[in-house]
Each structure stands twice: as structure tokens, then as C-alpha cells.
Amino acid sequence: MEKKTTVHAEPGKQELIITRTFDLPVALLFKAYEDPEIVEQWMGTKVLQLENREHGSWRFETSYEGNVVFSANGVILEFVPGEKITRTFKMENTDFPVQLEFLEFEKVTDSTSKLTMHIIMRSVAFRDQLLKMPFAHGINMAHDRLQQIADSLK
């Protein structure tokens, strides 16, 4: 089966491009980014602020068992309904510098659309670190599960 989501990360470059084709009209795809309640549903995060306009700001926060485990914020530089969002992204409480994100929404057919996310990082090292995050996280998850199994055997 063809992979719907592609990640293009050329070695030695501080950028990465994520593309995805959706079985949704472009208007609905854009709405998923525009409507705070809908963002909360698919991102699994709380939307504290989302000002969809030039020079607007946004802030997301994710909690797990009462503790904030992830928070991020940024400013919206460009906002063209149904077409594009350009924004900054900063993960709070991490060493990651601000990254720049260009989101482009395109109509493919009346019922399908394409999203292109072009992310630019401060350095190649930070780009590579970002790519490795889910990998490192996966290891932690496996570790936690091992711990649970070990605990259950006690």
C-alpha cells in the first residue's frame, strides 16, 4: 500500500518536508487547522490560544494525569484561509530553538486535498534531533512496558 504521509529529510540540511494526501476537500482540511475544538480532537492537546490572523499567536498544552507533559507556542505570520498558514513553533521547556513552519493546503480533486509542511530548523543538528525524538520516545515506551511487566511479576 502506498504511504500517504511522506517525510523528506535530506542529509546535511536544516529543513524537512512532510506531505500528506487527504480524503477530504481542502476546505475541511483547512478547518481542521483553523477550529480550536477540532485541533484539540486530532492533536490530542488543549488549545489555550489560537488567533488565526497575521501577527496572531497560538499556544497548545498537553497534560497527562494532571501534569503538563508538552506545551508549545508561536506566532502566526501569514494566514490565508484555504491556502496557507506560516507560523513559528517553539516547544516550551526544551532546548529546541524556534522553528519556522510553512503549511500549504492544496485542492487535488473536489474530495481530496494535499498538505505540505515545510519546517525550517535553526541548525542541521537540531533538525536531526527532532527526527530522532519519536525514536527515543519509542525506546522509553518499550522500557516503561518492560517495567510494568517486571512489576506485575513481583
Partner: protein, 107 residues
């Protein structure tokens, strides 16, 4: 984890990427590889050493010559390395698609 980071750093260098591309089609000796670059021979040797240490290249003795081969298994590791990141976005976007289909039907 260290090994993986090293592999990533190894392919971040343009000369080393060029060496990998060059060897992809056929195994070569250090001399032949060096003759393809304007870089000094010891510099090319250093690149070959790094690529060999990361297991991206393997050495094979043939008579008096040592041939360098590409290690496809290790190259695949690099592709696999990005896979968890891709999967993370795939899952997120699948969720988005499902949420929006439900939204459309409920209107």
C-alpha cells in the same frame, strides 16, 4: 544510540555522501575512490575510515588490494530511522481525517 547518531553524522558530510553514491554501483579501492575527488588522499582515507566505522562500507581483501563495498543493510537502517517520525505524523493525520469525516457527516 551512539552508533545511530554517528551514522547520521557520517552521511551529513557532502564528500562522504558522494563516496557512497560512487560506490553504490561498484566496489572500488581507496585509490580509485580518491582519483574521483580533488580532495587530498589522506582526507579521502579519513572519510573511508569514518564510513567503515559506521558500517556503511565494508572492506574486502582481493589479492594485494582492498575493495570498499556499500553495506545496503546499514543504508536501510537510516531509512528506518526516520520511520518512527513518519509514523507519528501518519497517525496524527489519520486522526485528523477521521475527525473531519465525522464532522462532515454530522453537519
Amino acid at each position: 544510540m551512539n552508533l545511530r547518531r554517528d551514522v547520521f553524522q557520517a552521511i551529513a558530510d557532502p564528500t562522504r555522501r558522494a563516496i557512497l553514491l560512487l560506490i553504490a554501483t561498484q566496489a572500488m579501492t581507496a585509490g580509485t575512490i580518491a582519483s574521483n575527488f580533488n580532495t587530498a588522499r589522506p582526507t579521502v582515507s579519513r572519510h573511508l575510515q569514518i564510513l567503515t566505522e559506521c558500517e556503511l562500507l565494508t572492506q574486502e581483501q582481493s589479492g594485494r588490494e582492498i575493495y570498499y563495498h556499500l553495506n545496503p543493510a546499514k543504508m536501510k537502517d537510516i531509512a528506518d530511522f526516520i520511520e518512527p517520525f513518519r509514523q507519528l505524523w501518519e497517525d496524527r493525520f489519520n486522526k485528523l481525517e477521521a475527525v473531519m469525516k465525522k464532522y462532515k457527516n454530522n453537519r
